[in-house]
Structures are given as C-alpha cells and as structure tokens.
C-alpha cells in the first residue's frame, strides 16, 4: 500500500487504564475508501482503540495519523477541527436525549456550516431518508426503538459528509435483518460517499460481508495477532486462534488450546 492510499495509520499504539495494560504496540494501515474491521475477543481493547482513534482517550504511547498527519500531536483546537472529518456511530446511538431526531442531525450543521435553516432542514431530511427514518424528524430519542436510534445516530454521524466513519459494534442489539440492512447501508456509504469505514465488531456474519481488511486484537498478548481480509484469515491463517475465532471454534477446537 503506498502512502497516498493510506487514509489512516495506527502507529505503535500503547493504551492502559492506570496500571492495567490494554494493548501495546498496535500498528495498522487503513486504506482510503476501504472497510476496516477491528475484531477480537471481548475485552481485547477494540473499543478502547476506537476511542483513541476518535480523540476520546489519549494514547499512552504511539499515535494515530490521518492523511499522513499526526493526530495526537496536534493541540486541542486543531484536533477539534480534524474531528469534523469524522462521523462516529456509538454502540447505543448516543443521540442527545434532550433534542429531537432532526435537531440531533442538525446540530453539527448549525455548529460548522453557515447554511440557511431551510438548507439545513433539507439536508437533515435527506440524511434521515438515507437511513429510512423519514417522517421521524420530530420524535425524541426516547420514543424510538433501539434499531431506529442506531439509524438516527448514523444519520447524525453522516451529517457533515465525513471522510471517515467509525462504527462501534454496529450490529449489537439489532435483529438479523436489520443488521444485514445496516451492513448494506455501510457498503453503500463507502461506495457513494467514498468514505473510509472503521468498524469495531465481533459479529462474524457482518465482518465477512463488509470487511476489506481487518486486524485481530488478542487479549493475551495484548497486541495485533493477525491482519488481513477476514475471509482469507479464516481460510488460510497459520494461527489457529484466529481461525477458531473466525469459525466460532467449530473447526479448530476451543480457542485456548492453542
């Protein structure tokens, strides 16, 4: 992968909560316009890695680079500017509960564009239509189902036409059909917006559907155990733990026997 192709790079990242080491020396390159999946066992630090990538938690060592530029060496104000290129879908949707669905999607536009209220309203309606929530503008998050909240969260994440979309466990709490729809929507967004998608997931069906590339975080060695296309890893990885994970332990025996 040459440098121009790299949208984001995780460089020697070490994370810890107090004296508890979460991960060490994690490195990866994420190709522009690809779907990159961070997978691994529960507690392997997938969400922590995502939090560091979106600026919520500073790393103990290492850095994240976007378009070749260091993210964590920026001062706070410049980092805030950088953040406008991101869209993040949190596990629960994380809609602002005191605002309606439309206000949720509109707030980033109010803060960062000088569009007229009419333009903003049109864009909000479009983003909500993209996630199948047209007509729910005036609803409050508490009036929506879990799946709808998640979709509204996605509409909000897309509000500023982000270059990179982050997803934290997008399939959790969704039924198989909704989960499948979300996968298709994510691929559609990658193709139509040209965005890079970074997804934390351990939902195998979804991983095989969407991922172009992936890393497997290991909770024992606390670092990247494998990197590559998940299908190829499943079929050809020399590491039986990785194969076991990607086949739900069905073909290579229980994970810890390795």
């Amino acid at each position: 992968m040459n440098a121009d192709d790299t949208k984001a790079e995780i460089r020697n990242l070490t994370m810890a909560y107090g004296s508890y080491l979460v991960m060490r020396n994690v490195s990866a390159r994420i190709k522009r316009g690809s779907v990159f999946v961070i997978m691994g066992e529960s507690g392997a630090g997938k969400s922590t890695l995502l939090r560091t990538m979106v600026g919520l938690q500073p790393p103990q060592e290492g850095d994240v680079l976007y378009d070749g530029r260091s993210f964590w060496e920026l001062d706070e104000d410049s980092r805030r500017v950088e953040l406008r290129k991101f869209g993040v879908l949190f596990q629960s949707g994380a809609l602002w509960s005191s605002m309606t669905v439309a206000e949720n999607v509109e707030l980033p536009l109010v803060e960062y564009t000088d569009w007229s209220p009419g333009d903003r309203r049109d864009v909000v309606r479009l983003k909500l239509a993209l996630v199948g929530l047209e007509g729910f503008e005036a609803y409050y998050p508490s009036e929506l189902s879990g799946g709808m909240r998640k979709r509204a969260g996605l509409a909000r994440a897309m509000a500023l036409d982000p270059e990179i979309l982050f997803f934290d466990e997008p399939s959790s709490g969704l039924d198989p059909i909704l989960s499948r729809n979300l996968d298709e929507l994510m691929l559609e967004l990658r193709d139509s917006l040209g965005a890079t998608l970074i997804v934390v997931s351990h939902e195998l069906a979804s991983i095989f559907t969407i991922a172009d590339d992936s890393i497997f975080l290991d909770s024992e060695s606390k670092t990247v155990r494998a990197q590559g296309n998940p299908r190829e890893l499943r079929d050809h990885s020399p590491d039986s733990k990785v194969r076991a994970f990607l086949t739900r332990g069905e073909f290579t025996g229980p994970a810890a026997t390795t």
Binding site: V54, F86, V88, F90, A94, S97, E111, A256
Partner: protein
C-alpha cells in the same frame, strides 16, 4: 422412601491410614449438611498421615447448589492441606458443575487470576486518586473560565436557548419550594425572637431580627441548599446520564466542547437566577416573620415594615445578593463537576448526584463561614 432417608447424614471415615472418606447419605435438597467443613478439618488435623480425600455418595438422594458449594469448600480445604482428591464418588452432575466452576481441573478456558492488591499499593493508589481529584477540581475551574472567555469573545459553542430553559427550570419553577421553606424559616425566627425579646419588652425588634437574618444569612443559605438538592443533583444526574449514554462522547467526537455546550449554560443559569431567588426568599422570610408578629404580638404591617426598612442596610442587602450568586456558582459547579466525572453505570450516576449534593451543601456552609469572617473584618 423411609423417613430417615430424608435427613442428610455425613460421616467422616478413615478407610485406611492414608484415605479420608466422606460418606454422605440422605436428601441434601434444601437441607443443610452441618459441620461438614469442621469435620474434615478435624479429621485431617488428627491424622496427618492422610493423603487422599474420597467421597461416597451412594446413599445420596438429592442435592442442590448449596451442596455443591459445600463440596467445593471441602475441596479447597483439602487442597490447603495438600490432600489429593478422588472425586469419582461424587454424583456426575456435581462433578460437572465443579469442573465448570473451575474448582476441579479439566476446564479448557484460561482462568483469569485474581490479583491481590498489597496494602501499600492500595494506599498509594488512593493517594494518587485523591491528588488527581484535587487537580481535577481546579482543572474544571480552569476549563470553565476558558469556556467563559470563549463566550465573551463570541466563540463559544453555546446556545442561549438551553441557558434560558435551564434558567426557567432552576428559577421560576423553584419559587414554590423556596417560598415554603423561607416562609417557615421566617415563622421560626419570629417565634424564637418573640419569646425571647418579649421578656425585655422589645418584641417589636422581631422585625429587625427576621429582616437582618433573612437578608444577610438565611435567604441565601436556604435558597442555596434548596437549589443544591433540587438543581445541583439534577445537573449531576443529567450529565452523568449523558455520560452513560455516550452523549458526551458524541459531542466530543463532533468537536463540540461539553464545557461550552453543557456546563456553561448551567453555570450561567444558576449564577443569574440565584440573586432573584434570594430577593424573593428574603421577602418571603419577612412575610413569615410578619405573620407571627401580627398574630402573636399584634404588630401592624406599617410598623413592621418601617422597622424592617430601618434595620436593613444596603450593604447587608447587597451582601446577601452576592452570597446568593456565589452559592449559585457553587451549586452549579459541584453539580456539573460530579456529573462530568460520573462513571459509566447507573450506580455511578446515583453516586454523582449524591456527591454533588454533599459537596454543594458543604461548600455553601464553609464559604458562608468565610464570608462571615470577611464581613466582620471589613465591618460590613
């Protein structure tokens, strides 16, 4: 089944000098096996030659989780005494449960060991946490001032709509409770004053007593405490819940400062609302005082009013207002600080609200003490 079979019986036997056999019979379902642990302990003490622990449960009719837990304690005890276990005599289900709970070997998964903290480590970690808490207190103040600076320069991500809504919630909507408490405080002060002052024939000075107390102290303190329980706790709970729901994270990932967007409107709302509430509280306290004076001491409204006006100096009145505003700041500060520091669980939100109220009330009373000393020194 014979009646005796339903009573659990435990016998510890030495089948050979090296083997300790625990024979359990009867029905252990919902029935305790008394002194099992003690018996094993004594037997292993009495005969140090024992090397094996065996079970015989052929006469056992039923068992439940309590039975399994008891056996697991026996096994732990046996391990401590370096006895080798022979569990073949236990029912198949019990063996499987023990294996699943990783008491017997054979479970495939890795077992996460419990790391025991040393005393000094605990003390050190607590001290560091305290230190960081104190630093956090001042960091939060600094962040507030920066946010305020941004607001004054017109660069803050601040919505006056939010601030107005919070003002409405913490101001006009609190009038009822502020009125009730301060009216009662007025009554109480007047009653105390009336009984004491009437002994010297000075009961007209009840108006002075109530007026000065209300304006200098009770008006602002009581309103501060009411707001602390009502609004400070609400702030902590709101922000804590937003933390749990990742709403604050969502703001941050959009580059929107939670300090400017969430904390600043709350601080400003309370600092602006408190003076009004204090003036209202002062007035209501005097009404309370007057109603006692009028009914018990037969004082006319005119006289009461004149005495009050005469007693209260502008300085005292302004002091009350300044104190009220400062208490408003303290309530908002502790509420927002605790809310922003809340953990990610429902229990953490509850704790944040509790800590906000405790810290708020303590801060109000402590700072009132400082105000009193300062006023004395400055002759206000």
């Amino acid at each position: 089944m014979p009646e005796t079979a339903s009573i659990p019986v435990l016998v510890v036997e030495h089948t050979s000098p090296e083997v300790l056999l625990i024979r359990i019979s009867g029905d252990c379902l919902n029935q305790p096996l008394p002194q099992c642990i003690e018996l094993v302990r004594e037997a292993s003490k009495e005969s140090p030659a024992i090397r094996y622990l065996e079970f015989d449960t052929t006469g056992l009719h039923g068992w439940d989780s309590r039975f399994v837990a008891l056996i697991s304690r026996c096994i732990t005890l046996a391990r401590d005494h370096n006895l080798e276990l022979r569990c073949e005599g236990l029912p198949e289900g019990v063996r499987r449960l023990l294996r699943l709970a990783q008491i017997l070997p054979g479970r495939l998964d890795a077992h996460r060991g419990v790391v025991k903290e040393r005393f000094l480590q605990k003390v050190g970690e607590r001290a560091i946490a305290r230190y960081e808490g104190t630093i956090g207190l001042f960091t939060f103040l600094g962040q507030n001032l920066l946010a305020l600076g941004n607001l004054l320069r017109g660069q803050a991500q601040f919505r006056w709509n939010d601030a107005l809504l919070i003002m409405e919630e913490s101001g006009p909507r609190a009038l009822g409770i502020v009125a009730m408490i301060n009216f009662l405080i007025g009554l109480i002060l007047a009653f105390v004053g009336a009984t004491e002052l009437s002994r010297f024939g000075a009961s007209i000075y009840v108006a002075d007593l109530v007026g000065i107390a209300a304006v200098r102290e009770t008006g602002s303190i009581m309103t501060g405490i009411i707001l602390c329980g009502r609004t400070g706790a609400a702030f902590a709970a709101q922000l804590g819940t937003m933390r749990v729901n990742e709403e604050i994270n969502a703001l941050e990932t959009f580059g929107i400062s939670p300090m400017e967007f969430l904390v600043l409107p709350r601080m400003i709302a309370l600092i602006l609302m408190m003076p009004f509430l204090c003036v209202f509280a002062n007035f209501i306290t005097m009404v309370g005082g007057f109603s006692v004076s009028a009914t018990v001491l037969n004082v006319t409204p005119e006289i009461y009013w004149n005495r009050t006006i005469e007693a209260i100096h502008l300085n005292s009145f302004l002091l009350g207002i300044v104190k009220g505003s400062f208490f408003g700041f303290l309530v908002a500060y502790t509420g927002c600080l605790r809310g922003m520091q809340s953990g990610y669980t429902a229990a953490a939100v509850g704790e944040a609200a509790t800590r906000a109220v405790v810290a708020g009330i303590s801060a109000i009373i402590a700072s009132d003490g400082i105000f009193a000393v300062l006023c004395n020194a400055l002759h206000i």
